[in-house]
């Protein structure tokens, strides 16, 4: 029985019969009669040989019950360059690797010991150390991923390692934009002594402009935001005063809750500026741990990068870019950038209380949020309507939304205007003319479509409609109060038309005879 008859590529399970595997030796004739087809019809040797044996398996479905037919045939290669004979045993088989022995171990290690096998083992130089050739003058520069060096060690970006607790040993890599959040255990008694809660910890060591040089770049404080115990954030003006943790009334104030580093670099890998923005907060006696968030971003000098939300189509999760028209027609329109934001849901749910930061609208994420409005008899309608409009729409509600994630401000046609509609809810048929309407709901519907090729469709915003629903404010009897819900929502609807494949035009053959082809006769 030749080798071809013993090979079976579909026999993967040892003692079991594989379904539809006609070459499986574990199958009995009854099992063969249940097969529908043979998964491997032919097993053959190398097709380069002039004559070789092949095992052919097929199912005879005409017979009752179906049976397997096994034949060994002689396959002939008709080509004149078929191999008639070989005198080299390993010719048609894969080379088995050398077994290391004490004699050839060194040579094998030299050839195969590195991360890559080079064809020329002689010119292979072992360069596995960090790329810092010893040079006296600072022609070094930062490269991507290299830790940013400071006077004492590295620029630290605390991040969670293994668990969520902060580890201060994580260096920031050059040009690696990172954002990390980690938990640190705190207590009011020790808050002045924990260095990581102190602003100085992040600003006192200067960054080296170029690795291994003596040029220093100080970390300046760009801005400070103070967050109160209930979560409200205020931007501090006048950021030249360092605020250190101080214990007051059982609270520890000015502890660092978040740091954002902004590093400016040149095209030659040198750091020119470093600035840090802080979020300072307060902890009370009950707080056992706080979450700190750290971020580092890199900007090249003399550029003002605008963060894109996709290139070109929107990426789900990135904020929807919006803007205003800065100049009127007929000047070329420029768009000022702003954010499309939505009312955030807060723990106190009071519409008229001071607001935390509004949540940005992210592409693809449908959001619904709201708050409760307490109406008393003393409230006047017009100012209330105005306040609610501010609460729902925010301070700078944009007029245009970018159609693509990378729409430039100069391309007027890439921006979609936001259409506003107002619906008034008439619950009772009696409507007093000129009665005051207060907005209670803002619904933003963003219609987007898939644009571009079928293989890689890009999301494109086609239409944005902001629907304001108003209701009449009925005058309340004095002393009574009502609570009405105020909601805002963002919905993303996919209005892609079904895809139509586009076919390229058939190629045309353009044959033109030369002008003087029929020269003597024409």
């Amino acid at each position: 029985v030749s080798a071809v008859a013993k090979l079976c590529g579909c026999d993967l399970l040892g003692a079991q019969c594989e379904p539809n595997c006609c070459c499986d030796p574990d199958c009995s004739p009854q099992e063969f009669s249940l097969f529908t087809s043979c998964s491997i019809p032919v097993v053959r040797g190398d097709s380069h040989l002039c004559r070789e044996k092949a095992a052919v398996y097929s199912l005879d479905v005409e017979a009752n019950p179906p049976e397997r037919i096994f034949k060994i045939i002689e396959q002939v290669n008709p080509s004149i360059f078929c191999i008639y004979a070989t005198n080299y045993e390993q010719a048609l088989y894969l080379k088995s690797p050398e077994i290391p022995t004490p004699e050839n171990f060194d040579e094998l290690l030299h050839k195969f010991g590195g991360a890559a096998f080079s064809a020329e083992p002689e010119n292979w130089n072992l360069d596995t150390e960090a790329p810092n050739p010893p040079e006296a003058n600072g022609t070094l520069r930062y490269e991507y991923g290299l830790p940013i060096q400071t006077e004492d060690a590295f620029l630290r970006l605390p991040s969670p390692v293994v668990s969520s607790w902060c580890s201060d040993a994580n260096p920031a890599g050059f040009l690696v934009n990172q954002a990390t959040k980690c938990i640190r255990s705190v207590s009011v008694e020790k808050c002045e002594r924990i260095p990581a809660l102190n602003m100085l910890f992040y600003t006192n060591s200067s960054i080296l402009a170029v690795p291994k040089s003596s040029q220093l770049v100080n970390v300046s404080v760009q801005s400070m935001v103070v967050q109160s115990l209930n979560g409200m954030r205020t931007l501090l003006k006048g950021n030249d005063v360092l605020r250190l943790p101080v214990v007051l009334d059982g609270l520890c104030l000015n502890i660092v809750l978040g740091v954002t580093y902004h590093i400016t670099y040149t095209a030659t890998g040198e750091i020119t500026e470093a600035a840090a923005s802080f979020v300072l907060g307060a902890i009370s006696k009950e707080t056992l741990s706080i979450q700190q968030s750290f971020q580092i971003t890199f900007t090249q000098v003399n550029t003002k990068p605008v963060p894109l939300s996709g290139n070109p189509g929107y990426v789900v999760g990135l904020p929807v870019r919006a803007g205003f028209r800065l100049q009127e027609y007929p000047f070329p329109a420029e768009f000022g950038h702003s954010q499309l934001s939505i009312l955030p849901s807060t723990s106190h749910q009071d519409c008229l209380a001071a607001q935390a930061a509004r949540a940005p609208v992210r592409f693809g994420y449908n959001i619904m949020s709201g708050c409760k409005l307490r109406i008393t008899a003393a409230m006047k309608c017009q100012p209330l309507a105005h306040t609610l409009l501010d609460v729902l729409k925010g301070q700078n509600f944009p007029e245009y939304v970018a159609s693509f994630g990378n729409s430039q401000a100069q391309d007027v046609l890439d921006w979609v205007p936001i259409t506003h509609t107002v619906i008034s809810e008439q619950r009772i048929s009696t409507t007093l003319q000129g009665s005051c309407q207060i907005p209670v709901s803002l619904g933003i519907e963003v219609k987007w479509t898939k644009y571009g090729s079928l293989v890689n469709p890009q999301a494109r915003i086609v239409n944005v409609t902001a629907t304001l629903t108003t209701t009449t404010l009925r005058q309340l009897p004095p002393g009574r109060e009502r609570i009405i819900p105020v909601t805002s929502s963002v919905v993303f609807t996919d209005i892609s038309a079904p895809a139509e494949p586009g076919y390229k035009a058939l190629p045309t053959i353009n044959i033109k005879l030369p002008f003087d082809f029929f020269y003597p006769f024409v």
Partner: protein
């Protein structure tokens, strides 16, 4: 019958010479093809190429001596040519049977060459017998 030189032998020398040029180029091209398509380590490639080039080097004096001996009716030169023919036959048998990869085209070319050598040897022996006697 004053002329003892064999005309068929002379014709055969010319035909063999031209055929040999074709044979040499074809076998060299096939060795190059085999080294690209199949796994042909250097230790196996070197003997095959050496045999082919040795055969080419032997062919030139073989044909020259044969022509000269036949035309001048000298049995010594013809005898030397016969000896070189035996060497060429052995090398052709190597290329037919003991090459690393023997293709069907190799078999055909070598078989044709060997039959030409065989016919040549027969005619040379007849010519030597005619010259000697």
């Amino acid at each position: 019958s004053s002329q003892l030189s064999s005309l068929p032998l002379q014709i055969l020398f010319y035909v063999t010479g031209i055929y040999y040029i074709f044979y040499f180029l074809a076998t060299l091209a096939m060795i190059i093809y085999k080294s690209q398509v199949f796994s042909y380590p250097d230790d196996f490639l070197a003997p095959d190429l050496a045999v082919l080039f040795l055969m080419a080097i032997l062919e030139v004096p073989r044909l020259y001596l044969g022509c000269k001996g036949n035309l001048q009716e000298e049995e010594a030169a013809l005898g030397l040519s016969l000896g070189l023919t035996v060497g060429s036959v052995l090398l052709a048998v190597y290329l037919l049977a003991w090459q690393t990869y023997v293709l069907w085209a190799d078999v055909l070319l070598n078989a044709l060459l060997l039959s030409a050598y065989g016919l040549e040897s027969g005619l040379k022996v007849t010519a030597i017998a005619a010259f000697v006697s």
